[in-house]
Symmetry: C2
């Protein structure tokens, strides 16, 4: 039998010809359980290779060892769509000479496909692979479901290394990535910690403020004019967003509305809505929990999509362009409806766009759910510290203290006023927040550029400065 299986990650790195200054890439489907990025980077460091660019679709707390490789000059530059605070905090202190480039989940594959951000060697964690590299995320002990974010890496990287902890007999069926793209396959004991890869279940909020917001959010959707036959929907895995889905499900069932598709990172709640008949189909770029993994494996109505198909601005069309409603969160939102999901109230990096600005740009109705204050810091503010998603793409803000509609969407405002919802001016929400928290001290930022937020269209949306 022909085989691309090599004996070790080290051998794959050598065969791939990795040299100083090249770019390596990783995907984040194993989330906070991922072993692969750290293992590969440790090996590369051990081999004495330096000054690499790391293009990782997201970086989680588990990737904190990357900081050591930055300090040792193994890593000179980072491209990512999301960076957890455990990594972001030190980046914000200015440990890198070159700013991190933040893209979106759609912008990343677009820039890879166009050649703007070429990849020399892609390392793709795959829960199952055959010896020639036909591989999938749906099966195996480390099953993570969709491998959507890894498709662009596989298709466009110069060399592609599959790292798996389960080798299947050839040909693996129902592949996500196919052998045509793959150079080497490495079998390891474990690609990740199942407990960190997917949560057992995602949880609806029990916080009373969160429940109030969620109910209001569902009512906004109900009265938006979009909740009808063929409705399509995305929501994140945050507690309030999930609670909004629960209220939305009740409305849809009561009013007998059959939607078209649920999109995005998929949770068991969306799977439940599929089973209940709220949606006909789920399109899944990433599974958030075990229910979603089981569903994508078994239910033909639940299908994997690539990040390009999901959201690429460079594609001839992407699914986000056909989306009706998305519910999103915010670390901060300003009176121009600009949203920050990159930095915390002290200015430290603790997130990133992910699909935030992709879906906001595509959806007919982009809704932000956020409390007006958190931990005595106002969420609604004059000007966000960092623009992650421009206000022009945000339609409405739902808080516990009222609903603010972007003046650009007058039709929506009229509909919600007619429905008797508590519509307020966003400036009033800002004042209310500051009344509760006091006028906030804006964080003192340094002069060093530590992050660049790249807009979907490739332009520079904002710059993140070091924290003093």
């Amino acid at each position: 039998m022909r085989s691309k299986v090599v004996s070790s990650i080290r051998e794959a790195v050598e065969l791939a010809g990795l040299k100083d200054g090249m770019t390596v890439s990783f995907h984040h489907h194993l989330r906070n359980g991922d072993y692969v990025l750290n293992t590969v980077m440790d090996q590369i460091a051990d081999m004495g290779i330096k000054e690499l660019t790391v293009n990782a679709s997201s970086l989680f707390a588990c990737h904190k060892p990357l900081l050591g490789h930055i300090k040792n000059r193994v890593v000179a530059k980072i491209l990512t769509n999301y960076m957890a605070e455990e990594v972001g905090r030190e980046i914000s202190c200015g440990i890198m000479d070159r700013a991190v480039e933040f893209r979106t989940h759609g912008g990343r594959p677009s820039d890879i496909a166009s050649g703007r951000t070429p990849i020399d060697v892609a390392f793709i964690a795959a829960p199952i692979s055959d010896p020639l590299g036909n591989c999938s995320g749906k099966y195996g002990k480390s099953a993570c479901g969709s491998l959507g974010y890894a498709f662009a890496d596989a298709m466009y990287a110069d060399k592609v290394v599959i790292i798996t902890d389960e080798l299947a007999s050839y040909p693996l069926m129902d592949w996500s990535i196919e052998e045509t793209c793959v150079d080497y396959v490495v079998k390891v004991d474990a690609i990740g910690d199942p407990a960190g890869i997917v949560s057992g279940t995602t949880r609806i909020t029990r916080d009373p403020v969160g429940l109030v917001m969620a109910e209001q959010a569902a009512l906004v959707i109900r009265h938006s004019g979009l909740l009808k036959e063929g409705f399509s929907f995305q929501t994140g895995a945050g507690g309030a967003s999930l609670a909004a889905s629960k209220f939305l499900k009740e409305i849809m069932l009561k009013e007998n509305i059959r939607g078209s598709f649920g999109l995005g990172g998929i949770t068991g709640y969306l799977v439940d809505m599929l089973h209940a008949g709220c949606f006909e189909k789920l399109l899944d770029v990433q599974c958030f929990d075990l229910d979603a993994v089981e569903s994508i494996r078994k239910d033909p109505r639940h299908q994997e999509i690539s990040a390009e198909h999901y959201a690429s601005p460079g594609a001839k069309s992407a699914v986000v362009d056909s989306l009706d409603v998305v519910i999103l969160g915010a670390a901060e939102i300003d009176t121009d409806f600009n949203v920050n999901v990159h930095t915390d109230s002290n200015g430290y990096i603790m997130g990133g766009s992910g699909g935030h600005s992709d879906t906001a740009a595509g959806a007919k109705l982009a809704m932000i759910i956020a409390p007006i204050q958190r931990a005595r810091m106002p969420i609604v503010t004059d000007r966000v510290t960092c623009i992650s998603t421009p206000g022009r793409d945000v339609d409405v803000l739902v808080t516990q203290a009222g609903i603010a509609v972007n003046p650009e969407n007058a039709e929506l405002k009229d509909r919600l006023v007619d429905a008797g919802l508590n519509i307020v001016n966003i400036h009033d929400l800002k004042r209310k927040a500051e009344h509760l928290t006091g006028t906030p001290k804006k964080p003192m930022m340094g002069s060093r550029e530590v992050g660049k937020v790249i807009c979907r269209d490739g332009s520079l949306l904002d710059t993140i400065y070091s924290v003093r």
Copy 2:
């Protein structure tokens, strides 16, 4: 709802910006029932566009109207992998200034992907599509099953037009080609004649000579050393090849051998072998009959593959590289085992490689089944009129008068001799053939180049000259 649906093929051609001298492409999954190539070319001719290159994965008898467009200078050049005699005969008479470029089913997508044969506008017949171009061959009144040959056109053409006779609601699930590649969608009344798209059933030969050869072929496989757990197999849809599959199936069932996969153009016979447990999986680049279409639609063990995944020499690996045995036909075979499937005994173009030389190059055992003579013309000859598949890639010739093994494969010869099969020298077969038919008059070829056979590696394998 967003939509890429335009009112007519003409509008799509205009919007795609088709101009004189450009390249258009078509696939052949609708086989001899295809309406799309003719309809599009008629429209283009009507619009006064000239000097086009047509890159069609195959041309069938139904595409005879293309000859009119050649004569009117709408078409200046043809690239194809197969040309039926109804088209080929006039090409062989020299009606084109430029020679037809013949590639293989694997070489075509490789040359499209590499940019050696760029496509300006791909016209893709799809039995079902949603309004944004997610489309499939598995469903709809004109269902043809796999759309494997169209993937490269969709991925690499500058503009992509989907032509369908069934619009589905968005998003179509289980898509073959995705909206990310598609510019326009045109709804027409019918993309093809179902009777010509797939045959109701493919038929096993009843010809006694064919049955003798088929039985010998199955015995060669049995004793080749390859027929064991994990065995993989491809065969064409010719009567003798199908009969060989039937004999092979009996052997596999009797000896309880469980193969791995069946590959290729898939017929109901391969589906039967899947059901009987002879194979675990079918990988399908093209469905030959209704049983195959039904199976690929319903059975997850039967999966569509792209032509690149099937056979591209430019891919990092393709399935043909993992194939154990392929059974192929021949119009002529010479004493060096070179095979001609491009021209008939009078030198007229009547076929093409399709997957012939791809599978011969990839498979561990490439077998040719052919009678030593047909219609009083010898099939085994000194030198084929046209080399379609080089003798270095052919292991064995099975005829009714004995089995000739390529001397390069001494191990196979030893095995078959040990098994007591009727192993003969290919020169003896040639003499036997000529004894029956008389020494053939080689066709008188003209001096004009009418076809170039492009090898999988991009080199020129042979040149086809005009017929005088």
